[in-house]
Symmetry: C2
Subunit: 229 residues, 2 copies
DNA sequence: ACCTGAACACCGTTCAAGT
DNA sequence: ACCTGAACACCGTTCAAGT
């Protein structure tokens, strides 16, 4: 028995390694593949070993959120665009769209963010800087506060859609019975699908719609900002 | 053994009964209490019996969404307020705030709505009528389409918040270390909490913030509507 | 036809034990 | 100290069998 097994994890486990492995699994196979047993196997350990680094699965997911929020903070901290006065809007817009690029790499992450019960310090820090930009634009704390609520998850760069209003847009594929029940949607569907015949499936451009909604809110806030002067 | 057992369910099971019982359990104990075994027990049956009325748990939740969306449609269908021209905005606002009252009765429902993979006909129908109101206001199908995306879940009357920017607002309860890391939020917190000293905990008024965000979007859309004339 | 008991393949997690 | 095997208390679900 003097043959030392070489297949064991060379680097010891750590909370950092556990969290990074969790993100990798979710990236590769989706959030539902992220089980304690599966995660342990990826680390060359047993499920129970993980409990030395995370209190339980909720704590694991809290840590994953903290990791991704830190990734976002790292990206937006080095933007360094002017934000004084009217420039607040472009600065905020760029910051949010930059944060969004991280979620495009982790499409499972929004759902995990939304199911957290505790607040992540990195998420709070992100919002703090956002309020900073608004203050540069002359926002009162009161208006900045309402702004955070109005933006909601859009502040971090994502918006969960209940359904895609363009589903089944393969014009004419809508059953006649359904067409009678939802005439406006069918009309909308055929017209918009007609305007953009390139897109065969899922003709809603997520990025365009995100920016449309974001600009609608930012423009509205900017109007309130100048009105309050 | 001629004694017939009187404790069995008198009324036979049905999909309708199963779905209604599911809503009752979630209302009373939260969505996590809604398991197949628990649901069966509430109906005086065994878990396996439920599979004659729902294909699986996802189908059960799909049915629950359909049930609640129908409840919403029933409520908003009888509003009957004018919606022609500029009145579209008030009509839409009232409709959305009315839909919201149903979610206030089922606080677990937003999460279930957001995790659906298939679209509910009742949800589609709700949005169809919303597009109808916008058409009354002179919206192009294109603008109405962007409007649905911009509203997102707000169209149905709820907005999931990542965190409450007013948590720990018991002014002064913020550790000095945290105060240094997020100065703007702490400043915002103390000022807004000061303005409204009544609220001891959770000083963010959900209803007010929902209406603020909703009006910001509706006002923006109304501006685009008139600009497009 | 409608319903069910036992069993299966998973979960997260506890506990007592290994090195 | 760090890690683990076996076991527990749950899940959703399959299957073959009851009436």
């Amino acid at each position: 028995m003097s043959v030392t097994t070489q297949l064991q994890p060379r680097t010891p486990l750590s909370r950092e390694r556990v969290l990074r492995a969790a993100v990798e699994i979710a990236d590769a196979e989706g959030a539902e593949a992220l089980t304690m047993r599966r995660l342990a196997k990826a680390l060359g350990a047993e499920a129970m070993s993980l409990y030395h680094y995370v209190a339980n699965k909720e704590d694991l997911l809290d840590g994953v959120v903290e990791l991704i929020a830190s990734e976002i903070n790292d990206a937006v901290d080095q933007l360094g665009v002017p934000s004084a006065g009217a420039a607040w809007k472009q600065a905020t817009r760029l910051r949010i769209l930059t944060a969004r690029t991280i979620f495009l790499r982790h499409p499972w992450a929004p759902h995990v963010f939304e199911t957290r019960k505790t607040v992540s310090l990195a998420v709070v820090r992100y919002h703090d800087r956002l309020v900073g930009l608004m203050r540069d634009g002359g926002f009162s704390y009161d208006l900045a506060h309402h702004a955070l609520h109005a933006l909601g998850s859009r502040a971090l760069g994502f918006s969960q859609e209940l359904f895609d209003p363009g589903d089944g847009a393969a014009a004419g594929s809508v059953p006649a019975e359904l067409a009678e029940q939802v005439p406006h949607l069918v009309g909308m569907l055929t017209e918009v699908a007609h305007d953009d015949p390139d897109s065969t499936l899922g003709w809603c451009d997520d990025q365009f719609e995100f920016e449309f909604g974001l600009d609608l809110i930012l423009d509205g806030l900017d109007r309130l900002r100048t009105a309050a002067r």
